[in-house]
C-alpha cells in the first residue's frame, strides 16, 4: 500500500535540497537582478566534488586502490561504509565544505567575463557554461564518464534502520536549509541587501553613487554558487549516485519556476514555490509508479504545467504568490517599536532577541568581510 511516512520523508528531503537552490537563485535574480541560467552547473559541481572526495577518502582510508567509478570500489564501499560512524560524519562535513569552496570559486571565476555584459549575455553564457560542463563530465574518465559515480557512502550509513537513517538525513538537510534561510534573510535586510536591490532597480544609478557593482555581483555569485554547491553535495549523498545527465538545463528551469511562482525578492515565497513544485514532482513519480502504461507520461504533464505556470504567473501575477516586502531599515524598525510601545512586557524579550540578532549579524558580516552599518 501507499507508504505515507516514506513519501513525506522523500518529499521533504527533496524540498530541503531544492529550497536551498531556490533561495540562492532568489538572492541572485530576486534581489540583485542577475539572470543566472546556469544554476545547475554549480549544483553539479558540488555533487561531483562531494561524491569524488568522499569516495576517494573512504577508499584510501581502508587501503583500497581502485578507481572511484569501478565496480570493485562500489562493492568495497558497500562493505566498509557502516563501520566507522565518525569517519562518515567527518567526510560528509569535509566534502560539504570542499564543494562550497569549489562551486563558489567557479562561480566567482565565471563572473569575470559575464558581469561586464548585459543580462541577456550573462544568461546565455552561464547557461552554456552549465551545458558544456555536463558534456565535459560525460567524457571525463576520472569521475566515471557518462556512468558517473555510484555507491557514495551515506553520512548515516551506520544507522541500521533505513527509516531512521533517512529521517536523520532529512533533519540535517532541513537544518542546513534553516541556516541558509536565516543567513539570506539577514543579508537581504542589511545595508548590503539594500545595495543589492539598488543594483536590481538601476545599475547605472548605483554605480554613480559609488557602489562597486561588479565586485558586489561577483561576491554574491560566490556565496550563492557555493551554497548551491552544498545543495548539490546533499543531493549526491541523498541519492547515493551521481551521473552527468542528472544536471541538465531543465533542473535550472525548475528552480526558476519555483522562484517565480513564490515571488521574486521574497525568501519565504521561494520556499512556498519549492513546496508546490516538489510536491508536484513527487506526485508525478508516484503516479508513474502506480499507474504504468498511461497514454501520456505524467512527467511530460508535469513539465507542461511548469512551463504554463511560468508564463501565466508572469502575465497575470508578475509579483508571484508572496510579493516582495519593504526592506526592514532602522527607521522602519523604530516605527514598529513605537507601535509596540503598549506591549511593555513583550518589549524586554524582543530587545534581548534583537540584541542577539545584532551580534549574530556582526559575526556574519565579519565572516563575509564587511562592516556592519
Amino acid at each position: 500500500m501507499f507508504d505515507l511516512i516514506g513519501f513525506l520523508i522523500s518529499w521533504l528531503t527533496l524540498f530541503g535540497i531544492y529550497a536551498i537552490l531556490s533561495l540562492c537563485l532568489n538572492m541572485e535574480i530576486g534581489y540583485t537582478g542577475m539572470a543566472n541560467f546556469g544554476l545547475v552547473a554549480f549544483f553539479g559541481i558540488g555533487a561531483f566534488v562531494a561524491s569524488y572526495t568522499s569516495m576517494s577518502i573512504f577508499l584510501s582510508f581502508y587501503g583500497y586502490d581502485y578507481p572511484v567509478y569501478s565496480l570493485d570500489a562500489i562493492i568495497a564501499i558497500g562493505k566498509v561504509a557502516g563501520r566507522t560512524p565518525w569517519l562518515n560524519i567527518v567526510v560528509f562535513l569535509f566534502s560539504l565544505a570542499l564543494s562550497f569552496l569549489v562551486a563558489g570559486l567557479s562561480g566567482y571565476l565565471i563572473s569575470y567575463p559575464t558581469l561586464r555584459v548585459g543580462p541577456a549575455f550573462l544568461g546565455i553564457t552561464i547557461l552554456s557554461f552549465g551545458e558544456m560542463l555536463r558534456v565535459f563530465m560525460k567524457h571525463f574518465t576520472p569521475t566515471g564518464g557518462a556512468y558517473g559515480i555510484l555507491g557514495i557512502p551515506h553520512p548515516f550509513a551506520w544507522v541500521s534502520d533505513p527509516a531512521l537513517k533517512n529521517l536523520s538525513f532529512l533533519v540535517l538537510t532541513l537544518a542546513i536549509l534553516a541556516g541558509t534561510l536565516v543567513y539570506f534573510e539577514l543579508l537581504a535586510n542589511s545595508p548590503y541587501g539594500r545595495v543589492l536591490r539598488s543594483i536590481r532597480e538601476d545599475e547605472v544609478a548605483s554605480l554613480c553613487i559609488g557602489k562597486p557593482v561588479p565586485k558586489i555581483k561577483a561576491e554574491l555569485l560566490f556565496v550563492a554558487s557555493g551554497i548551491s554547491g552544498v545543495a548539490g553535495a546533499l543531493y549526491a549523498f541523498y541519492l547515493g549516485s551521481v551521473t552527468p545527465d542528472m544536471f541538465i538545463t531543465t533542473v535550472t528551469f525548475e528552480v526558476w519556476s519555483m522562484v517565480i511562482l513564490g515571488g521574486r525578492g521574497n525568501n519565504f515565497g521561494s520556499l512556498l514555490g519549492t513546496l508546490v513544485f516538489t510536491l508536484l514532482n513527487r506526485a508525478t513519480s508516484v503516479l508513474n509508479f502506480m499507474l504504468p502504461g498511461l497514454l501520456i507520461d505524467p512527467n511530460y504533464i508535469r513539465w507542461m504545467i511548469t512551463g504554463a505556470l511560468i508564463v501565466i504567473i508572469l502575465i497575470y501575477k508578475p509579483k508571484g504568490l508572496l510579493p516582495e516586502k519593504p526592506v526592514k531599515t532602522e527607521a522602519w524598525k523604530i516605527f514598529e517599536r513605537e507601535k509596540e510601545k503598549k506591549h511593555v512586557s513583550r518589549r524586554a524579550l524582543t530587545d534581548v532577541v534583537s540584541k542577539a540578532l545584532a551580534y549574530l549579524k556582526t559575526a556574519l558580516y565579519w565572516l563575509i568581510g564587511r562592516e556592519s552599518g
Binding site: 535574480i29 561586464r116 544568461g123 558544456m132 565535459f136 547605472v204 526558476w256 497514454l295 504554463a308 508572469l314
Partner: protein, 323 residues
Amino acid sequence: MAELANVINMAWYICIYSLMAVPLTLSYRTSKVLNFAHGIYATVGAYMPVLISKGLKMSVPFIPVIFVSFAFGATLAVITHVLVFSPLIKRRSTPVTLMIASMGAWIFIKYMFYAVLGVLQKTWLTPLFYVSPDIDVPSTLSLVGIEVNAKFLFTLALTAIVFALLAFFLMKTKTGMAVRAIADNLELAQISGISREKILMVTWAISGGLAAIGGLAWSLFAYVSPETGDSVILQVFACSVIGGLVSLPLTFIGSIIISFTENVLIVFLHSYLGIEYSFRPFLSFFVLVMTILIRPPAGAGGGLPYRYLPKVKAMCKSIFRMR
C-alpha cells in the same frame, strides 16, 4: 590532419547554424526577446518530414516539405508571440522577464511535443524517436563527372536561396524596411505610422519558419529526436553573440567561426596537441567567452558601463602622447 570530410561537415554545420542563428538575431533585434524557444521551432521543422513519411508511409518530396516545415515553424512562433510575448511587451516588461517567459514557453512546447509524439507513436505503432526521415532525394549527383552527395548540394542551395530571399525582403520590400526601422528605432518608426504589432508578427513568422528550415537541413543528414533543436541551441546562441545579437552578416560569420572550431580546429588540436574530440563543446564555449572578453557585444543589451575597450584606447592614446 583535416580531411575533406571535415571541411564538408563544416559547410554542413555552417548551413544549419546560420539558418538558425540569423533568425534568432533578427527576432532579438526587433522584439528584444532572447528566445529560448527558438530551438523547438527547429525541432518541429526537423520532425515534419519524419511525421509525413511515417504517418503517410511514403517518401517525402523535398520541395513541398520545405514549405510545410516553414509553415509549421512560423505558426508556432506566431502563436508563441500572441499568447506569451505580446501581453508582456505591451506591459513594458524587462528583458529578463521576457527571457523567463520564453523559457516557460519553451518548456511547455517541448514537453507538449514529447507528449504528442508519444501518443502518435502508440497509435501509429512506429518508432518516432531517433529516426531519420525518408526524403525523396537521390543519394549522389553526378556533377561535371564528379559524384557529389546530393543532400549536401541541396542544403547548400537551400541556404543560399533562403538568405538571398531574406536579404531581398529586408532590403528591397516595404515590409522589410519597416522591420529594419522597428529594429533600429522603435519610437521613430511608430511615429512614422508603422504598426509594431504587425511587424513583430511578420518577424516572428520569418524567424520561426527559418529556424524550422534549419531543422529540416539537420534532418537531411542525421536522425532526429525531440532534443534536436536543443542540442545545437547553445552553439546557435554562441553564433548570435559573436554577431553581438545585432548584425545579421556578423551572425553568419559567427556561425562560420563556430562550425570551423567544431569541425576543423578540433582536428588540428587533436593531431598536434592530443586534445580529445570530446572537448568540442568546450571549444565553442571558449570562443563565446573570448568574444565577450575581447569584443563586448555592442548596442542591444550590451554592458553599458563596463566596456573596457575605450579604456584601452585611452591608455594607448596617452602612451602615444607621452612619446
